[in-house]
């Protein structure tokens, strides 16, 4: 009996009217955990019932505690007929199982119904008493911390990074079971929500077990996804990076914690002057693996087992814990991947040599930013895709195929990385796109060489930074240096000596999936670069379809890559960070979208321009045309240089006005390569003509390409945008943030569209979305849209859906050229002032609605900043919490709800995260049969997204938190049938619940943060 779960139902408010006759409701509550159910008394005739129940106690295994959610159902009592359900609340109690996370869940939760949405709120208290259980054969993994954040969380340090963990769990989708024909949509939705909640609980527990086996205590960069495979089932899979984390003592946290906003690189470009330009020549770091040829899967003839909703028979996919499990398990497949790894790994870890990493089955890391010194060299992006046919029937006795699929892809990634001379893959992620029975599995990451010492115990001691480097390369350009052998390069590339240290070779262009390392030197500012592509395909079934898709994929990858490269050149930049390429499959088309943040890395050579070449040189008309286009391109490049403030000293020295005077270019190639090897220069010359940057306008296609290249409008004045956590070149963030989610669906009525037509439509769709964002957020300038995360889907034959989640962050314009280096000192100075301010605020009238005077981070802020902040979101979360607690006594007090900030980033500018309260991982279904009445699909989705936000905020507030970091919307699957007036939508969101405080007042707030929960409960 390792745990006791206690729940208390306090009160409800704003309940819906369930009895039309009296306009009131007779509400009571059922509290269910596992198979145990308790009920409260009926609170008659009230829309704001006070139950004030006893503590309901559940005595349960910690395994169940991890898997099961606490299920709270609010019902309307009816004497004569069946009780009507008002709605439900699922509470994930995982955060309570970890001593360092939340200690109590207490607060108002929205009561959610899958048909009606939010219907009032309920106040609940939940506690867990865990008994220590040191049974090494246990199945639970309580205490392992999970973080969605893809970097080492603030206020922690990584004692050791163990490596890749993965797991997947499969089940039948309740929506596709026979019983679904006879039950209500509500029952079906709830079965699905509950099942997914169970499955993700189970998945998390199993991952936790693997982490414990590896000797770690946390998973960082936890990425969980659902694959709705339709009739063939439901897959929940997760990957992450196992680490051993240690909490800083509060004193040292501020010094050692690398904070993106406070630890910018020295922006000054002080590389040597005798810069040689090495341009031309396409590097193909994106070695897209040829998609695995279609493989027919043996279809089993046995029928699926009957489904029992109470205890779903999820089958685990890997056999990693077979040797440890006491209970005999059936259906243990042989296809497990991690099982092979777990045992040997432990012993390997003790040896700790460089080869450790290589011998690991998958030396992958889901992290995108790293402690200084962790990343030694970066090779380039590696990706692999494979097209699979989903088998119709699951046989529980059959070895799991999904795991084998992923294993295959990971092997491919690993071999790509090896080809780049790298022993590890960082910024690793996996995703799928499913259409009917075809599934594209994709994985991508950045090949890299890591400092092996980080895999060793106790090596991450922050004090010993200097001893860590075996490699003499300077810290802020080392990662750019090529990891592969320059005489034996995996792909044709142009190398040059590093523009910073002049000692090592660097490539001319670098593509990565990770965030820009904090120490990297950047010239000018970065910007969002997107490549968009549509490819029509014939409608087909089964194998034919899969083959067709397989054949199209390499072309799409190539074109996306070319687009990225051209757009990068057009902006005079030489590196991409946070690259994410998504290929989505629909019945009659494939969509490709690549987003990244382009920057000019000071260490890399200046990019060449783009050269336009006509097909028929003799034609005078044509030549004029070419010249005109060339001029436009050159103008665009010149304009972009100015816009992004890219003016590396080398360029001015050599007086390169026009981007590419071709003859000179050639000669330079010779010159530079004479230093390295003749062989190379010859190779480059031969390559020169097919260069991606010489665009030949020989047909309409190419003209289109050039046009699309030039149509990307730069963001309006005052705006920046990027796909990474922060914008390279901007360091002085103020605390105003606005997170948003936007979804747009386009219906293509035109049946006979060409590829070009589609491309145009798709490009316009993305561009218009961006324009819309800029317009909506125009009052917040100067600001930067960070972490612009586009997701494309083809929900139906003629529909294209784009969903975006991003955050707008304000920054201080006056100082955006350089970071304030004396920040730390000013901070210290203003601290006392803030402490003085504290009691004054307390005594002030709590109902005052005026924005808090923004005392943020001690940067000398002018009044303009503070007013701007107030127009966004309340900058300082803490005073709100305070005023809330004061307000609670007043029945109509303004602001009785905690403000919860949300951001897709791992940090909140101007604040410091003092505590991680646990992972938020929620899955919701919403359905309607009155679509028109709810304002059409837009109205339906608008309220659903708002409801999802509300539920996330409520859960965070109940944990005592005031913010969600690393928030993401993994899935937004919308199905509509306007003719039947119906629609259904599934949304999956995740993030880390945290308590953050303003950077200046850490001490007092620790207490306030912790009392948050109890205050909530009292209201």
């Amino acid at each position: 009996m390792p745990g006791k779960l206690k729940a208390k139902i306090v009160a409800g408010r704003h309940l819906p009217v369930m009895d039309r006759a009296s306009d009131l409701t007779d509400a009571f509550v059922e509290v269910k955990f596992g198979n145990t159910t308790f009920k409260t008394d009926v609170c008659p005739k009230s829309l704001n019932p006070q139950w004030n129940s006893e503590w309901f106690k559940f005595e349960v295994d910690d395994e169940d505690l991890q898997d099961e959610p606490l299920q709270i159902t609010v019902l309307d009592h009816d004497t004569y007929s069946a009780n009507d359900a008002i709605g439900k609340v699922y509470i994930d109690i995982d955060p309570l199982l970890c001593t360092e996370a939340a200690s109590i869940i207490s607060g108002w939760f929205p009561i959610y119904d899958t048909i009606h949405g939010i219907r009032g709120e309920i106040n609940v208290l939940v506690k867990v008493e865990l008994f220590n259980d040191l049974n090494r054969f246990r199945q639970s993994s309580c205490g392992v911390k999970f973080f969605c954040t893809t970097s080492i969380p603030y206020s922690y340090r990584a004692v050791m990074v163990h490596g890749f963990v993965e797991e997947l769990v499969v089940n039948e989708d309740p929506e596709y079971q026979w019983i679904d024909r006879i039950r209500t949509p509500r029952a079906s939705n709830e079965a699905r929500q509950r099942l997914i909640s169970l499955m993700s609980g189970e998945l998390q527990r199993k991952i936790g077990l693997k982490v414990l086996e590896m000797g770690g205590n946390a998973v960082v960069g936890y990425l969980q996804c659902f694959d709705l495979e339709g009739e063939s089932g439901l897959v929940v899979r997760a990957i992450g990076t196992a680490c051993t984390l240690e909490k800083f003592s509060s004193g040292s946290a501020s010094i050692t914690c690398p904070h993106p906003s406070t630890a910018p690189p020295s922006n000054a470009c002080n590389s040597p002057k005798d810069g040689k330009e090495l341009v031309f020549g396409e590097e193909l770091p994106l070695s897209s693996g040829p998609p695995t040829p279609f493989r027919a899967l043996p279809s089993s003839s046995s029928s699926p087992p009957p489904f029992s909703p109470s205890k779903p028979c999820s089958r685990q996919s890997s056999s990693s814990d077979t040797d440890l499990s006491l209970t005999p398990k059936t259906g243990m497949g042989s296809g497990g991947s991690a099982g092979k790894e777990a045992g040997p790994l432990k012993t390997l870890l003790r040896q700790q040599t460089q080869t450790t990493l290589e011998q690991r089955e998958f030396p992958f890391f889901t992290l995108t930013s790293f402690p200084p010194g962790f990343l030694v060299h970066v090779g380039g992006v590696v990706s692999a895709r494979s097209v699979k046919l989903l088998d119709r029937i699951h046989n529980p006795d059959e070895p799991e195929t999904r795991d084998a699929w992923w294993e295959e892809i990971r092997q491919e990634i690993k071999s790509h990385a090896k080809a780049l001379g790298c022993h590890a893959v960082v910024g690793y992620s996996e995703n799928t796109s499913i259409c009917e029975e075809v599934c594209i599995l994709s994985a991508s990451g950045t090949a890299a060489i890591l400092n092996p010492r980080y895999m060793r115990e106790g090596c991450l001691d922050v004090g010993s930074i200097d001893h860590r480097f075996d490699d003499p390369s300077p810290p802020n350009c080392g990662f750019c240096h090529i990891p592969y052998d320059e005489l034996n390069m995996p792909f044709p590339a142009q190398l040059a000596y590093c523009y910073q240290c002049r000692r090592q070779k660097v490539p001319d262009v670098l593509f990565t999936t990770i965030d820009l390392p904090a120490e990297a030197a950047v010239t000018g500012k970065g910007c969002l670069i997107q490549a968009r592509l549509c490819r029509l395909k014939k409608k087909a079934q089964g194998e034919v379809n899969a083959t067709a898709i397989s054949n199209l994929l390499p072309f799409m990858e190539y074109e996306l890559h070319t687009q990225l490269m051209n757009k990068l050149k057009l902006r005079s930049m030489n590196a991409l960070f946070g690259l994410h390429i998504q290929i989505s499959v629909g019945e009659n088309m494939l969509l490709g979208l690549a987003s990244a943040t382009g920057v000019y890395l000071t260490a890399l050579p200046a990019p060449g321009g783009i050269q336009i070449a006509g097909k028929t040189p003799g034609d005078l008309n044509n030549e004029q045309h070419v010249a005109a286009i060339q001029k436009r391109i050159n103008d665009a490049i010149a304009k972009n240089k100015e816009l992004y403030q890219i003016n590396p000293p080398e360029l001015t020295d050599e007086g390169v006005g026009s981007p590419i005077p071709e003859p000179r270019q050639r000669s330079r190639i010779f010159r530079s390569h004479s230093e390295s090897s003749d062989e190379l220069s010859e190779l480059d010359l031969s390559h020169g003509k097919k260069d991606a940057f010489v665009l030949e306008i020989d047909d309409t296609d190419a003209v289109e390409d050039i046009h699309s290249l030039l149509t990307d409008a730069p963001p309006p004045a005052g705006f920046h945008s990027c796909s990474t956590e922060t914008m390279p070149g901007i360091y002085n963030w103020t605390s105003g943030i606005q997170m948003f989610t936007s979804v747009r669906v386009l219906r293509l009525n035109n049946t006979n569209l060409t590829n070009q037509g589609l491309n145009k439509i798709f490009t316009d769709l993305c561009e218009n979305l961006l324009k819309s964002f800029y317009f909506k957020l125009r009052s917040t300038v100067p600001c930067c849209l960070c972490h612009l995360n586009f997701t494309v889907a083809v929900p139906e034959e003629e529909l294209v859906q784009v969903s975006v989640t991003a955050v707008a962050m304000t920054f201080d314009k006056d100082q955006n050229q350089e970071k304030p280096p004396e920040k730390a000192t000013t901070k210290g100075g203003s601290e006392t002032e803030d402490q003085l301010q504290f009691p004054l605020e307390l005594s002030a009238d709590s109902s005052s609605t005026s924005p808090q005077p923004s005392k943020i981070s001690g940067v000398a802020e002018n009044t303009i900043v503070s007013t701007r902040v107030s127009s966004l979101e309340h900058c300082s979360p803490l005073p709100e919490g305070r005023s809330r607690s004061l307000c609670s006594s007043r029945s109509f007090g303004v602001g009785s709800v905690t403000m919860v900030k949300m951001t897709p980033l791992s940090f909140l500018p101007g604040t410091r995260i003092i505590k991680y309260l646990g992972i938020i991982n929620m899955f919701f279904i919403r359905e309607t049969t009155s679509l028109r009445e709810e304002g059409g699909v837009s109205g339906f989705l608008h309220s659903f997204i708002a409801e999802v936000f509300a539920m996330v905020r409520a859960h965070v507030a109940a944990l005592g938190g005031n913010a969600v970091v690393s928030y993401s919307m993994k899935d937004c699957v919308l199905m509509e049938n306007p003719n039947k007036n119906q629609a259904q939508c599934l949304i999956n969101v995740s993030g880390d619940a945290v308590i953050c405080v303003r950077e200046t007042d850490q001490e007092q707030t620790t207490n306030t943060g912790q009392t948050c929960g109890t205050i909530d409960g009292a209201t």
Binding site: P110, F892, I945
Partner: protein
Amino acid sequence: MAVELDVFVGNTTIMDEEVYQLWLDGYTVNDAVRARMEGGVLDEFDATADVLLSDTMDQYRTFQMCERLLHSPAKLANQLLFQIPPHRQTMLIERYYAFDDVFVREVLGKKLSKGTKKDLDDISAKTGVTLKSCRRQFDNFKRIFKVVEELKGPLVENIRQHFLLSDKLARDYAAIVFFANNRFETGKKKLQYITFQDFAFCAGQLINNWTVGAVGEGLWLLPLANMDVDLDKEFLQELKELKVLITDKDLLDQHKSLVCTALRGKTKAFNEMEANFKNLSRGLVNIATKLTNTKDVRDFFIDLVEKFIEPCRSDRWTAADVKLYLTHYTNSAHILDTFKHQVVWDRYMGVIKSCIFKMYHD
């Protein structure tokens, strides 16, 4: 190719005050887009009409979803669906409950019933306020009326607490509720020149002086529901006693001579005042004595205009004249030895005086 779906949802709900006002004013989405384009939002920010349409639709949807909450503003503060900073909440509520003076002038004193609601088309046509906006304003009146009807305690405070309105707006609503409850006639042609703000001031005077709640703390314990909404019956009864001022010939003459003595030489209109004294005094006292009849309560303002303001105006009294006259008229009654109803007289004349001051203009 058509946009099938287009939504934008912020964690903190984004609301543009300009669009909110257009929505409140009952503009359709297309009209609002046109209005915004004319307002020059596109010039200051380089955007296309599509962007504007998309933004306007999003905002309209948000407002529609919020509207339910705005009906009981206290809910807005502790609901969870929209994260709106407190100062924005205040703005939303204040604007939602704001009304057009031209509109309220039309329905002031009318019964807030379905019948009146049907007339909103005509009112809309007459005032130029869109029907949608008329409906919102009318429903606001009705909603507040319904809620405070059943509450004890001071009217203005109740409105402010329940609807989280500013003091000024709460006072205006108190006036509207008070007028609707007592059904004061305000629509007659003769009353057209009186603005809503004049009436609101008068309502404030009546609420503060002539209702049960006005008398003082001692009456708090009385089980009276609408202390501020209904006039003090006892007081109205006592007003009958004032009749003696006009029925008793001696008293009337005595009163007149006292007033005239005081006024002589102080105003150009003295002759007219002297000549009209008995008429005016009869007018004011008769109004007082008839207030026990509900019908006459309704005609209170008409009577004031017909019996006092119009005669004065035809004699070209200035506002200062009126003030002077009424001050002396009121004070002189205290010197009358046989007149015993000083307290009632003051309570009556205090309100009459300030109402007439407010109403005496063109």
